[in-house]
């Protein structure tokens, strides 16, 4: 089993790449891999409850760990209480730890 770290930086309302990255996460998970999706920059907009973005709920229910950069949330005025339960606000250190552990990493 391999560990995958998918880093998503794009606004889900601006780019189809976001949804495609979510599909990739599910595919990798389905093949028996552990997968973490880390939202940075404008991708954290999907973590708002008001965004009604279903992709992240689906991922979390399937077993993908979804993290969102606290700095990016703060920059965009998104309070932790506005973040859906499927997403865990995290420091960028968490991303670095995956890198240092040798996770196969892909940035979108």
């Amino acid at each position: 089993m391999s560990g995958y770290l998918l880093i998503e930086s794009r606004d889900p309302f601006e780019s189809k790449g976001f949804a495609q990255h979510c599909e990739l996460a599910l595919t990798l998970l389905g093949e028996g891999n552990s997968v973490t999706l880390f939202l940075v920059e404008n991708a954290v907009l999907a973590a708002r409850a008001a965004a009604k973005a279903r992709d992240l709920d689906k991922l979390a229910k399937a077993g993908v760990r979804v993290l969102a950069d606290k700095f990016a949330l703060h920059e965009r005025g998104i309070d932790a209480r506005q973040v859906i339960a499927a997403v865990e606000p995290a420091e960028l250190n968490a991303l670095l730890a995956h890198l240092a552990d040798g996770a196969k990493t892909l940035w979108n």
Binding site: S9, V40, E41, L92, L96, L99, A100, A103, T105, W107
Partner: protein, 135 residues
């Protein structure tokens, strides 16, 4: 345990938030005691240009000091100094072809010229490599 991480950057300065995220990650890697190698490709070779200057903001009536405009070269310098202070290996390589295309050869001390072959070596010598692509 100290490890070595490689980062490949492609974005030119002042254009994308990817640049500041990359600098945050590199800083965290050094703070955590990891060695860092950076391969700057395409527009990213302009990040450590020596003659970048902060400027005032006439529209808002702010002086150079008040505006405190960041220059990427100072961020690169800060990373080099942080690595030195911590005794960690740090290598910043600018792609030579990309430098020549842009006339971007005047960089701050601590930056060297190389080729994609250097990136390959960095990758082989690191526990992981993060490629931050441009769009």
């Amino acid at each position: 345990m100290s490890k070595t991480l490689t980062f490949l950057l492609m974005d030119a300065p002042y254009e994308q938030s990817r640049t500041s995220t990359a600098f945050r990650l590199i800083d965290l890697a050094l703070q955590a005691g990891h060695g860092v190698r950076v391969f700057a490709y395409e527009g990213a070779v302009c990040l450590p240009l020596m003659h970048q200057q902060p400027h005032a903001n006439a529209i808002h009536g702010r002086t150079v000091e008040e505006e405190s405009h960041p220059t990427p070269r100072t961020w690169v310098s800060a990373l080099i100094e942080l690595a030195k202070a911590k005794g960690l290996p740090f290598d910043w390589v600018n792609c030579g072809l990309c430098v020549d295309e842009r006339g971007a050869s005047e960089t701050i001390p601590g930056v060297r010229r190389g080729s994609p072959a250097d990136f390959w070596k960095m990758n082989l010598e690191s526990v992981n490599t993060l490629v931050i692509p441009t769009r």
